[in-house]
Amino acid sequence: MSAVGTAAPYLHYPADSHSGRASFLGAQLPPEVAAMPRLLGDLDRGTFRKLLKLVVSSLQGEDCREAVQRLKASADLSEERLGVLLAGTNTLLQQAIRLPPASLKPDAFQDQLQELCIPQDLVTDLASVVFGSQRPLLNSVARQQGAWLPHVSHLCWRVDVAISTSALARSLQPSVLMQLKLSDGSAHRFEIPTAKFQELRYSVALVLKEMADLEKRCELKL
């Protein structure tokens, strides 16, 4: 009991209350979201809108550190309070944006926020971010931020034919030289002997076919 502390209010509003469905925030309310409502009551609306704008910029991938400092100074908010509000708003928006519109509808979103005792006008502001015109951009940024292995950003090649070497008087063997630049900034250069090259080409063609098949199967399942 004491471990929950001041976040206890949420216990009176179970996640899947009378609506009967699970909250978009998950089975356990994130602590930063739980701590928000009591700080929002007397918060100036203009300040909240500035804060919301800041969080949206950050979700779009911008560096907002300076903007946070400016907000703190202009709004006369304590560091702790500002921290909770930023974290809570960020989590709220991130969790909502994660779900496709079919899974989380505007009404359900607003109902759930009201259940958390977030003031109605702020709920409207939050809803306009999640379901408004900025959503497509937020979606595409989220897609890019997904977990990735490095991918190839640039590929160049060269075919060499060794005419003669110190070991072989008459070689006449073609060899492919490949240079890969990757998304993580590294570069790799290597040679591909003819037999391995044919194997590579065959494998890549097979991979493409497998991907097309998988996509068809996924479409059918949906």
Binding site: P150, P193, R201, E210
Partner: protein, 188 residues
């Protein structure tokens, strides 16, 4: 009769030993080892020039990557030479080259490859369904692991991710390479 067969077997062994040392990079095959294992009754002074002659012949054949016509002509010339080889020895050398030609050529080509080379490739196609940032993606993604290494060194493994567009681009580039090679290798 038995003595001739013996020496055929010994010569075959000798050529193998020479190939191991000269082409496959096997260390530690010394003159003394070959003599004691294959020609124990022959003295070192007698063995040395014999070994040098065989080594020379094998190197000429390998360096020119002789086809079977060239080989025939070359060995015949050697049998006719003063201090050359016998026709039995020529037969053993011919048999040896026929079975080792491709392997030796590959090995010699490798000796002139100093950059990292592609040693292997594995791949997998996954259906990406969820991430921390997005609940439903449903796109296929290919993961390829390239094994790259220099001769004599341990491989490095490169794990790369491709979406369908990127795989297509890669395939297109590989087709361009293939076309280039075909054009180059066409008889003039």
């Amino acid at each position: 009769m038995a003595g001739e067969l013996e020496s055929s077997k010994a010569l075959s062994g000798l050529l193998n030993g020479l190939a191991q040392e000269a082409f496959y990079g096997h260390q530690g095959i010394t003159e003394e080892l070959l003599r004691s294992q294959l020609y124990p009754e022959v003295s070192l002074e007698e063995f040395r020039p014999f070994l040098a002659k065989m080594r020379g012949i094998l190197k000429s054949i390998a360096s020119a990557d002789m086809d079977f016509n060239q080989l025939e002509a070359f060995l015949t010339a050697q049998t006719k030479k003063q201090g050359g080889i016998s026709s039995d020895q020529a037969a053993v050398i011919s048999k040896f080259w026929k079975s080792h030609k491709i392997k030796i050529r590959e090995s010699l080509m490798n000796q002139s490859r100093w950059d990292s080379g592609l040693r292997g490739l594995s791949w997998r196609v996954d259906g990406k369904s969820q991430s921390r940032h997005s609940a439903q993606i449903h796109t296929p993604v290919a993961i390829m692991e390239l094994e790259i290494g220099k001769s004599g060194q341990e491989s490095e493994f490169l794990c790369l991710e491709f979406d369908e567009v990127k795989v297509n681009q890669l395939l297109k580039k590989l087709s361009e390479v293939e076309e280039s090679i075909s054009t180059l290798m066409q008889p003039a």
